[in-house]
């Protein structure tokens, strides 16, 4: 029996185990939408803007560990996905984005709603396909999911011309995918692992520096085992938060530009830094020549290009992080070292740093401090929630003050730093876990970048909570202007703001405002109890800054503490 390309698309997704699409219809993808109409078990969430669809697919993927799927039409539908794709690319998130395309005969003719989306997205995809023949459609979809989810994960774009969706062929979905040009090396080399274990045995002041790879490979249990066995402190990148419990005695919290004092001091004084699924980003290292100046560097990563890219590496280990962690734990189990005794002086030194400069802010009774809102969110939820953030001060306060316990509970745009990410990502996470509490910690600037998705949340009855830390500024940029540009607040003040409570109500959501510290907790409790999309407008201290801060280009131990 022969099927149309549109039918094959739907059948392939179901074969793939994908049962949820975030999408927006349009002319050239109508054949697919016609099939979706007939296939209720393939759920479709109608977004309000295609950027939202991709961030939702991304949030879904980060929260669930399964690949996210977005479907959009050609031309503007496709170009609107670019920021979402670049966001997923920078953070190595497995998503597959299907874009409609004008019929093959018209490609290159500047046809109505034509855009060369393969060309436009080339630098920010793991891979992409233009399907020119319906016979290739099923195998291309299988390859797209395979590539998106294996090795270092990432976004894959599949461009679907309308005539391919209408043409007919037999349906055969490949059971397995084998590509001669793509064989990610996932098995960590035993000898390199032994070298790493030997280096750990020798080190006096080791630090485990953990990135998003730990979450992507679901290796948090292995990390806990390693850290506890060898009694080594763990610092996490923004992307790594949640992979190690932040209240564990061995946790140093986040490192880098807005990292904790103890994490940045530990990294500056370490003699062995073990990078586990992290990539030495400039926001992490500060001034590169003075980063971990006395340390040997070991680096475990599935992507060989990440190794020695920014920092020369003494012990490279290429492979899947979970595999590497298991092998490392096995080698460590044979070790006769008394780890506790060996690391005692180092952990005492860290404890000293911990008490010398804690994360703190000046509490006030008449005005809400943004950090207090995050602390209250943490208290009220007991940490049992999925948090997303926008980008800027809100993101850094969330990273600093949430006491994350589990992986996949902190979703944030780390690499690209996409304002407008958090809200649609929260919707995607909520779609994956309808019963969980999902909270987007937002700023008043960021939330306005994808506020239209409130319509999506209301239509789908997804009870996402948006906690706006409303200071009426683009706060992080304002902070830089204050510290580095002589207090000249050029265009960082949004003098006209919507009334966020009325805005929520206009969309059919719940709107709450809190202006005093004692209203923060009750507002959150009300929102969680309501189980419907909610915006809470927390009117916060306008010129609060994020500290500690390592000015861009400075070494990590030169922190501004207040």
């Amino acid at each position: 029996m022969e099927y149309t390309g549109a039918e094959i698309f739907v059948k392939s997704l179901l074969k793939q185990g994908a049962d949820l699409i975030f999408g927006y219809p349009g002319g050239v993808v109508l054949p697919i939408y016609d099939e979706l109409f007939k296939t209720p078990k393939l759920r479709h969430i109608l977004v309000r803007h295609e950027q939202g669809a991709v961030h939702m697919a991304d949030g879904f993927a980060r929260a669930s560990g399964k690949p996210g799927v977005a479907l959009v039409t050609s031309g503007p539908g496709a170009t609107n996905t670019v920021t979402g794709i670049a966001t997923a690319y920078m953070d190595s998130i497995p998503i597959v984005v299907f874009t409609g395309q004008v019929p093959t005969a018209l490609i290159g003719n500047d046809a109505f709603q034509e855009a060369d989306i393969i060309g436009i997205t080339r630098p920010c995809v793991k891979h992409s396909y233009l399907v020119r023949d319906v016979k290739d459609l099923a195998s291309t979809i299988a390859e797209a999911f395979y590539i998106a989810t294996t090795g270092r994960p990432g976004p894959v774009v599949v461009d679907l011309p309308k005539d391919v969706l209408l043409a007919k062929t037999k349906f055969e979905y490949p059971e397995t995918v084998e590509l001669r040009s793509y064989r990610p090396n996932t098995s960590a080399n035993k000898r390199q692992i032994e070298k790493l274990a030997a280096a750990l045995e020798e080190a006096k002041r080791p630090v485990l520096y953990v990135g998003g790879g730990m979450i992507l490979t679901n290796a948090a249990a292995e990390l806990k085992k390693l850290a506890h066995t060898i009694q080594a402190p763990v610092t996490m990148t923004l992307m790594g938060l949640g992979s190690f419990p932040s209240l564990d005695d061995l946790s140093l919290g986040m490192l880098g530009m807005h990292g904790t004092y103890r994490a940045n001091m530990a990294v500056t004084h370490t003699d062995l830094i073990v990078a586990l699924g992290a990539r030495f980003d400039d926001r992490v290292t500060g001034k590169l020549d003075e980063f971990a100046p006395n340390a040997k560097v070991a680096h475990v990563d599935v992507d060989p290009t990440a190794i020695s890219k920014n920092v020369p590496t003494h012990i490279p280990v290429v492979g899947d992080l979970k595999d590497a962690m298991k092998k490392l734990n096995a080698v460590i189990a044979e070790s006769k070292v008394d780890w506790k005794a060996k690391h005692k002086p180092w952990l005492e030194q860290i404890d000293e740093w911990k008490h010398a400069n804690k994360l703190e802010y000046v509490k006030k009774t008449n005005v809400i401090k943004p950090q207090f809102v995050v602390e209250e969110i943490d208290r009220v939820t007991g940490g049992d929630a999925i948090f997303t953030t926008e980008v800027g001060q809100n993101q850094m306060w969330a990273a600093q003050y949430l006491t994350l316990k589990r992986p996949r509970t902190f979703l944030t745009s780390g690499g690209l730093g996409t304002m407008g990410y958090g809200f649609p990502a929260a919707i995607g996470a909520q779609a994956a876990f309808p019963d969980k509490v999902v909270i987007d910690i937002a700023g008043d600037g960021s939330i306005q970048m994808n506020i239209q998705e409130l319509g999506t949340a209301v239509q789908q009855r997804l009870p996402v909570i948006v906690a706006i830390l409303n200071n009426g500024f683009l706060g992080m940029v304002r902070q830089w202007q204050q510290l580095f540009h002589g207090n000249r607040y050029a265009y960082t003040c949004m003098e006209s703001q919507p009334d966020f409570v009325k805005l929520a109500e206009a969309y059919g959501a719940l709107g709450i405002r809190a202006t005093k510290p004692e209203e923060v907790g009750p507002a959150l409790e009300q929102a969680i109890a309501a189980r419907r999309p909610t915006i809470i407008d927390f009117v916060v201290d306008r010129e609060e800054n994020v500290y500690p801060m390592v000015p861009a280009g400075s070494p990590l131990n030169k922190m501004l503490l207040a």
Partner: protein, 162 residues
């Protein structure tokens, strides 16, 4: 340092754009590039001449390998290899300089591949140094037009790319 890198790729839509985009996007330099299908028409062979210190070349090779359509990458610079390029040069052929043009062509083992009343077109093949030397020698005689190919390369002996 100058490196000659051969890349075996899937002969698919857009592969050249992915490779050239990788070089421009990451700030790597391409001195020359050539590409054509191999005996197996599903693969193409590219030869890229690039420059950079060891760290940059290491990244170039890793990044090339990371592209999904790249099957194999070889950096020839650490081994004995053959490199060839071709140049076509159209020169003013006046009665006064024709003999000199032909002498130069002979010295470089080139060929006159086209002749008109006022011009000779000469073909020379060889490694980069030879082709460049020929162009330098012929320049004073009056080059009207020049077309140089990218380089192609191959290991000496038994070793192969794919």
């Amino acid at each position: 340092m100058r490196h000659t890198i051969s890349v075996l790729v899937e002969n698919k839509f857009g592969v050249l754009a992915r490779i050239s985009g990788l070089f421009s996007g990451r700030g790597f330099n391409i001195e020359s590039l050539s590409v054509a299908p191999t005996l197996d028409l599903t693969t193409s062979r590219m030869t890229i001449i690039t420059r950079g210190d060891d760290a940059i070349i290491e990244q170039v090779i890793k990044q090339l390998n990371k592209l999904i359509d790249v099957i194999k990458v070889i950096d020839f610079s650490e081994e004995d290899f053959i490199e060839r390029g071709i140049v076509l040069v159209k020169v003013n052929a006046e009665p006064s300089n024709r003999a000199e043009i032909l002498r130069m062509t002979e010295i470089f083992r080139g060929k006159v591949v086209d002749v008109s009343a006022k011009t000779y077109t000469i073909e020379v093949t060889g490694a980069e140094a030879k082709v460049s030397a020929f162009v330098e020698m012929i320049k004073p005689l009056g080059i009207i037009e020049i077309a140089r190919s990218g380089k192609i390369a191959m290991s000496r002996g038994k070793k192969t790319l794919g």
